[in-house]
């Protein structure tokens, strides 16, 4: 699936999240597998409290981390693709 900066994504109905001290654990109800999420990935997830575009997500990261804007967009896209592949996030249509 092609993800661009305008793609809007949302947390999948099949994921359950729990917050531990400095990380999140996200369970995919579909696969029964759970994932530990820290750092930037945690920040991205926290901004998915409602559907957001990749652009909005990467802007949120840029406010907190000192990275090149294009690098940030690339990283967010890669992360979102990873989330989608594991059934944790879906494209909001």
């Amino acid at each position: 699936m092609t993800i661009s900066t305008n793609t809007v994504v949302a947390v999948s109905d099949n994921s359950v999240v729990a917050s531990l001290d400095d990380s999140l654990v996200i369970l995919s109800l579909k696969s029964g597998i759970y994932y530990g999420v820290e750092g930037i990935a945690k920040l991205v997830w926290e901004h998915l409290d409602h559907p957001r575009s990749v652009r909005e997500l990467s802007d949120a990261i840029l406010k907190e981390y000192d990275v090149a804007p294009q690098q940030c967009v690339d990283d967010v896209i890669e992360l979102i693709q990873d989330f989608i592949a594991h059934g944790l996030v879906q494209v909001d249509e």
Binding site: A18, L20, L29, Y34
Partner: protein, 301 residues
């Protein structure tokens, strides 16, 4: 009907369950014998858990019989002809009763639990890691016994008192006998001895600490701190009716509601209760050293 108690539930049973302490009062759980009890439609009798919806479970144990467990309240038993009575009782107070607890929404973990002062301390680990032996060792050092093999946690994370029985290997009994004979062997089934512990704690106690027993022998006995993510992983893997990670026979927890509820319960547990790893050597004699280490660790908190 004979009236018993286990896990703070009053149990009325049509057959004797001498494993459980006697009690009085109205029934939370009723155990019936019914020779006509049949599995629900669509049961897959090649499986032990042959039918599962949250409120209706059929357990098919070929050498014992069929158990229909309903709505956290009824256990209907159809024993096989000339069933071994000890096996029948043992299965009723373990597998069938565990299913009742699950239906009642308790969080269940494979753990042995003792009470230190007014709080509960649990030992988690795979079969053979020594959790029952360590619990027995703690009891012989003057602590009270809460549960063997199955920890049932209430919503506010109180460890419920199970019943005063502890399963130990013969070698463990031999090693522990040097402490005295509070542990009395009552029968041997499944290659283990089922033992009576006199120091049973009858009150639910808030869970204070979980120790993970490492199955791999370490060069020395030690307590190690555990990251919360790792603790979560171990506790999910040691959950009863855990999603996906379970051995096949208990991989039955299929509804998304059950799975997510259990996942969130374990996350809550990891946030609120201390979890450490206990490394140990291979010999049973190490157990008394570990026991003193646990006491020291708890006291220094």
């Amino acid at each position: 009907m004979t009236i018993y108690t286990a896990f703070n539930l009053t149990i009325h049973s049509e057959f004797e369950l001498p494993e459980l302490p006697h009690s009085t009062g109205s029934a939370d759980v009723v155990v019936h014998l019914d020779p006509d009890c049949s599995p629900p439609e669509n049961s897959d009798l090649s499986q032990i858990i042959s039918f599962y919806t949250p409120d209706l479970v059929f357990i098919n144990q070929p050498d014992v019989g069929g158990f229909l467990v309903k709505a956290g309240r009824n256990i209907i038993v159809k024993p096989i002809p000339e069933v071994d009575q000890i096996r029948l009782r043992n299965f009723t107070v373990t597998s069938a009763l565990n299913m009742i607890l699950l239906q009642r929404g308790y969080c269940l973990l494979h753990a042995s639990v003792i009470a230190i002062d007014e709080t509960a301390v649990a030992f988690v680990g795979p079969c053979g890691a020594g959790k029952s032996t360590l619990a027995a060792c703690m009891v012989l050092r003057g602590h009270r016994f809460l549960a063997d093999d199955m920890l049932a946690l209430s919503k506010n994370l109180d460890a419920l008192p199970a019943f005063p029985r502890l399963k130990l290997h013969q070698t463990a009994i031999h090693t522990l006998s040097q402490y005295g004979s509070q542990v009395v062997s009552v029968s041997d089934i499944y290659d283990k001895h089922l033992c009576l512990v006199n120091s049973f704690e009858q009150q639910a106690r808030p869970l204070r600490h979980i120790y993970i027993l490492d199955p791999v022998p370490a060069p020395r006995v030690a307590v190690q701190s555990v990251k919360k993510q790792e603790a979560m992983q171990v506790l999910l893997a040691n959950s009863y009716a855990r999603p996906r990670f379970a051995p096949k026979e208990i991989q039955f927890l299929t509804t998304p509601e059950d799975t997510s509820r259990h996942f969130l319960q374990i996350a809550e547990l990891v946030k609120l209760v201390a979890v450490s790893r206990l490394q140990r050597g291979s010999s049973l004699e190490d157990m008394s050293l570990i026991a003193s280490l646990v006491e020291h660790d708890i006291c220094s908190e």
